[in-house]
Symmetry: C2
Subunit: 180 residues, 2 copies
DNA sequence: CTTACCATGTAAGGCGTTACATGATTCA
DNA sequence: TGAATCATGTAACGCCTTACATGGTAAG
């Protein structure tokens, strides 16, 4: 079966909002979805080809700002395909926390190594949380508009979980450093 | 390169604690790591073969409880390999929340569909949180022992994040249902 | 003039899931 | 006796990352 992988639906979802090039799709995923989904050019361009092949989008070459690009536009068939997927129950949320794996086995290397992983994790979380909070402020002003409401939901999810990560980091550090 | 994928280190980590069969490894992963890592027999058995091939473990066929099994034992070389990996910085934690993707694009299908996804997510979270809390109680009693301390850390992570998921579920539901 | 960014792709290889295949033992 | 669990694997396929390859434009 072609065109049944998740990236197909991510791309169709973005195209449902407006026509985009492969390059713009990558930018959109990085900016808006990267917290819970990632994709590289190596998946995006082949998926776009397969999407067009299946009749879910059409492409047209244009020149804009003296740059030639290929813009993809979703078709009715593509919209139906997307909706059908959106209505299906979620199969599985996949988490692969390498950080937690390394902590789980840290009895082999000791507290100092474990702490390094926690601290690195914490730094990443702080950086991303700051970004989320800017997004949230921007979105709250326009959230009465239908489209933004759902995006706000995902940003809220990021904020809530990242805050809990920080709480855990604190507890984890004191479990490893406090003298009994 | 053989034997450099993550499952290699998960398995070595488990074997570092005690010798196990492929079947037992699967049970251990499901019970202790499934919150942040998963693996099927289709990865475990081939990885075990490659681990043995690389000299990170040795195998021996035995009969126990009138069942024949193949037990793998980690070697010194395997322990070194594991430690070296545990000390390397984490490359990336990978999250693929299909739930959030579907929510992100829910403007295409509306509040009712979005709510269904949230409610399904919430049910899963509640079920798993209950399990984590049992684990935590059991671990707290023995957490002064080195090995359990690190396992407790990962359980605490699960509890903290799952509690935050529930908070988000509540907020998300009211964002979608409250009349303004 | 050179660095960064815009823009589109291919190829190889690794990773991982799913389905299939087999067979023994235990328990109800 | 039949279902569940123990136990070990293979094969196919799909998915995804990484590296490679190319070339144009904008800005300093």
């Amino acid at each position: 079966m072609q065109s049944e992988n998740k990236n197909t639906f991510i791309i169709l979802g973005l195209l449902a909002h407006k026509p985009l090039t492969g390059y713009e799709i990558k930018l959109n995923i990085d900016k808006q979805l990267s917290f819970f989904w990632n994709a590289g050019y190596g998946s995006i361009y082949p998926t776009l080809a397969s999407i067009e092949n299946s009749g879910y989008a059409t492409s047209s070459s244009i020149v804009e700002n003296s740059r030639s690009k290929i813009i993809y536009t979703i078709t009715e068939k593509g919209k139906e395909h997307l909706k059908e997927w959106l209505e299906r129950p979620v199969k599985k949320d996949e988490l692969r926390y390498e950080t937690l794996v390394k902590l789980f086995f840290s009895s082999e290397v000791g507290d100092a190594e474990a702490l390094k992983h926690i601290i690195r994790f914490e730094e990443n979380v702080r950086a991303k949380l700051a970004i989320f909070e800017v997004y949230e402020k921007n979105l709250e002003n326009v959230s009465t508009k239908e489209k933004h409401k759902y995006i706000l939901l995902t940003v809220m999810f990021g904020i809530e979980t990242y805050k809990s990560y920080l709480i855990w980091c604190k507890k984890a550090k004191s479990l490893l450093t406090d003298k009994k």
